[in-house]
Amino acid sequence: MSLPSISVYYFGAISLVLIGLYGVLVKKNLMKILISLSIMETGVNLLLISIGYVSGKSAPILSEGIGPAQAVDPIPQALVLTAIVIGVATTALALSTAMIIYEKYGTLNIEEIRRLRG
């Protein structure tokens, strides 16, 4: 089985970011915007991981037969671990804000909310 070229991962990750960006820019529903943000975040994480990929190397866990020379770059993986946690935290915060907004205004359409806020 031959591995696909690295540019496929880049292309995919950047596409995800752009899809997310599109959602943020044009969707009016707050939930859809939050979903777009999550998609964007996934894309960024994928991009980070694929930057650290070294063709043909294995996971960066030092064990029998696998030394530092045989592993992929471990730093992006550490970064992504952090980023995932941050992403979950911000999503949770944003979702709870969305709940409060819905309770207060009775709608999730951002145009409506702006109009109601005055």
Binding site: L21, V24, L25, V26, I110, R114
Partner: protein, 629 residues
């Protein structure tokens, strides 16, 4: 020698800081006056050194963070510094009476240091730094009294400062020099080899014109001056208008010293004049006419003298713009006489305001009996400003007229004749409205001005008379200044002698003025007039309006008296021109900028999160296209 320049420069600043810290009434005044006296005393002491080393002036160099700072005490620098410190001493005496707190002392003395530094610097590093110190300190003086006027002063000063900084940067980029001597050499070589393009040279010229024009209050950059001069401690204004505005005039001379050859090569002659100088001359002429007309129409003493200050500095620019040695001589003399008579005027104004608390003409009258010494001082100032012999103001204006006529500039000469006539019109009004006529009942218990203020006035009144009766004292020294300037232009060590004659007599290629004869004739004439007044006059009471209405029927709403609407017919005649005001033009410009900014803010900062996301996305796209990402 080295230390003396440093002491001279920084004593006022240190004295100001000490006065500010100690802040005990009595002590702070003593420190301030001492701080003002030290530079003056040192300059007097250095006089012989300066004059005897005409072509090798005392120099003081030091290195500050990689920059070589040079101070020079050539005859030119000494002249300006001595004039400034003379007014500075008078200011310090005046401030004993008028200043209310240590804040005034701190910033007044700080600007004193700045002004001296500007006149003694011989490189652009220290010149610019001390220029900014001077501007900052004078701005702080205005700020405390009127925020709106200080803002106007600040904005125009900042425009001037950045123009100067840009010009210095351009010169440094092209020549690599900051020292005046090096710049002059580089410009001279550049004129022959043509390293700097025409547009760059003209740009540097225009930038310097803006920078120095703001400080000198040249039209149309004068709009800060009326407010800044009047909304201030009037004793400090004596220094502000008497000495600080001369920094701009000095800048124009510096322009000649640094760039004359280069500017001549680039801009060429115009009808037998240097084109760049011709521009300066016309700016001066317009300043004289516009400011004098506006001064005539003012109803407030402070505003009147503020506009008159602008007009008189216009004379100096005009004289320098004539570009002949005669013009320089007249301009330099007028630097001195304007400093002494306008300084005196402001101290008189300070005394009047201090003793009466009023500033408008309609509230005054008959003060000559109540404040006789102040009245005598103001009479000297009036005669000097109006250019009546035997006062310093006559000698200097006479030289400027001679210069303009000799240089075949009839229109420019006409502008100063007009300016002089107007100057006479407004000082006469000041003389009559404030000192003569009926005294309003609330001025019955006005006292003579306090002693320190009178001392300050005397310090400025004496040179007015002495240099008026013996103008040769000044012109002899001015010849030395001109010799030094010639040496700076062309490196030939020739003693220039433009205005010859004795101490009492000025002789120029076209005319002679014998101050002593004129004085004697004046004294005899006054004696005869006095005798006629004492023995021959029959007093007759007439209604006050008879004097002013010139036979017009008096109605309620067209009742002109010297105190109220005296020049209303002139204002009506000028109605068309008075519609155009650069002051209002700038205000409108500021209003438009504000509206535009409001529109931008409302359009873009609209509270729509998605709009902000769009901005972010667009910026990222631009960066990506640019190749940053």
């Amino acid at each position: 020698m080295m230390n003396e320049i440093a002491v001279m420069l920084f004593t006022p600043l240190i004295a100001g800081i000490l006065a500010w810290i100690i802040n005990v009434k009595g002590i702070r005044e003593t420190i301030g006056v001492l701080g003002a006296l030290v530079p003056f005393a040192l300059l007097v002491k250095e006089y012989s050194t300066v004059v005897n080393n005409l072509y090798n002036p005392p120099t003081y160099q030091l290195t500050v963070s990689g920059f070589n700072i040079t101070f020079k005490l050539g005859t030119l620098n000494w002249y300006f510094a001595a004039v400034a410190s003379l007014v500075g001493v008078a200011m310090a005496f005046g401030m004993i009476s008028t200043s209310r707190n240590s804040y005034d002392w701190l910033f007044a003395m700080m600007s004193y240091t700045g002004v001296l530094g500007v006149f003694l610097s011989w490189d652009f590093v220290s010149f610019f730094l001390l220029w900014e110190l001077m501007t900052f300190a004078s701005f702080m003086m205005v700020l405390k009294r009127n925020r709106h006027e200080s803002l106007k002063y600040f904005v125009l000063s900042v425009i001037g400062a950045y123009a100067m900084l840009l010009a210095i940067a351009l010169i440094y980029a092209k020549t690599g020099a900051l020292n005046f001597d090096d710049i002059r050499h580089a410009m001279y070589l550049d004129a022959i080899m043509g390293g700097m393009s025409k547009s760059e040279t003209i740009l540097i010229f225009a930038l310097f014109l803006t920078a120095f024009g703001v400080k000198a209050g040249a039209w149309p950059l004068h709009v800060w001056a009326p407010g800044a001069y009047s909304e201030n401690d009037q004793s400090y204004t004596a220094f502000f208008s008497g000495a600080l505005s001369k920094a701009g005039a000095y800048g124009f001379l510096l322009l000649y010293i640094l760039m004359m050859v280069k500017l001549y090569y680039v801009m060429g002659p115009f009808h037998g004049h240097l084109t760049f100088a011709y521009i300066i001359a016309w700016i001066g002429a317009i300043t004289v006419v516009v400011a004098s007309f506006l001064a005539v129409l003012q109803e407030d003493i402070r505003k009147l003298f503020a506009y008159s200050s602008i007009g008189q500095v216009g004379y100096i620019l005009l004289a320098f713009g004539v570009g002949t040695w005669m013009g320089f001589a007249g301009g330099l003399f007028h630097v001195l006489s304007h400093a002494v008579f306008k300084g005196l005027f402001w101290l008189v104004t300070a005394a009047i305001i201090l003793q009466t608390g009023k500033t408008r003409f309609e509230d005054f009258g008959g003060l000559a009996e109540k404040m006789p010494i102040t009245f005598a001082m103001s009479l000297i100032a009036v005669l000097s400003l109006a250019g009546i012999p035997p006062m310093a103001g006559f000698a200097s204006k006479w030289l400027i007229y001679e210069a303009a006529i000799q240089a075949h500039m009839p229109l420019v000469a006409g502008a100063i004749f007009l300016g002089s006539a107007l100057a006479f019109a407004y000082v006469v009004r000041f003389l009559y409205a404030v000192w003569f006529g009926q005294r309003p009942s609330d001025l019955e218990d006005v006292q003579e001005a306090p002693l320190p203020l009178l001392i300050g006035m005397a310090i400025l009144a004496i040179p007015n008379v002495v240099f008026g009766v013996a103008p040769g004292l000044v012109t002899k020294y001015i010849n030395k200044v001109l010799s030094y300037m010639l040496f700076l232009f062309g490196e030939r060590k020739v003693d220039v002698s433009i205005v010859t004659g004795s101490y009492y007599k000025l002789v120029t290629p076209t005319g002679t003025y014998n101050a002593l004869t004129v004085t004697l004739m004046l004294v005899v004439g006054l004696a005869i007039a006095g005798l006629i007044y004492i023995y021959g006059a029959k007093a007759r009471r007439i209604p006050v309006t008879n004097t002013y209405q010139s036979g017009n029927p008096v109605t309620e709403d067209y009742n002109l008296s010297i105190r109220r609407n005296f020049y209303r017919p002139l204002a009506e005649a000028l109605e068309f021109w008075l519609k155009y005001s650069f002051d209002r033009f700038y205000e409108r410009l500021a209003g438009i900028a504000e509206d535009f900014a409001d529109w931008l803010r409302e359009g873009f900062y609209n509270g729509n999160v998605q709009a902000y996301s769009w901005y972010l996305a667009i910026v990222l796209l631009i960066l990506a296209l640019w190749g940053v990402l």
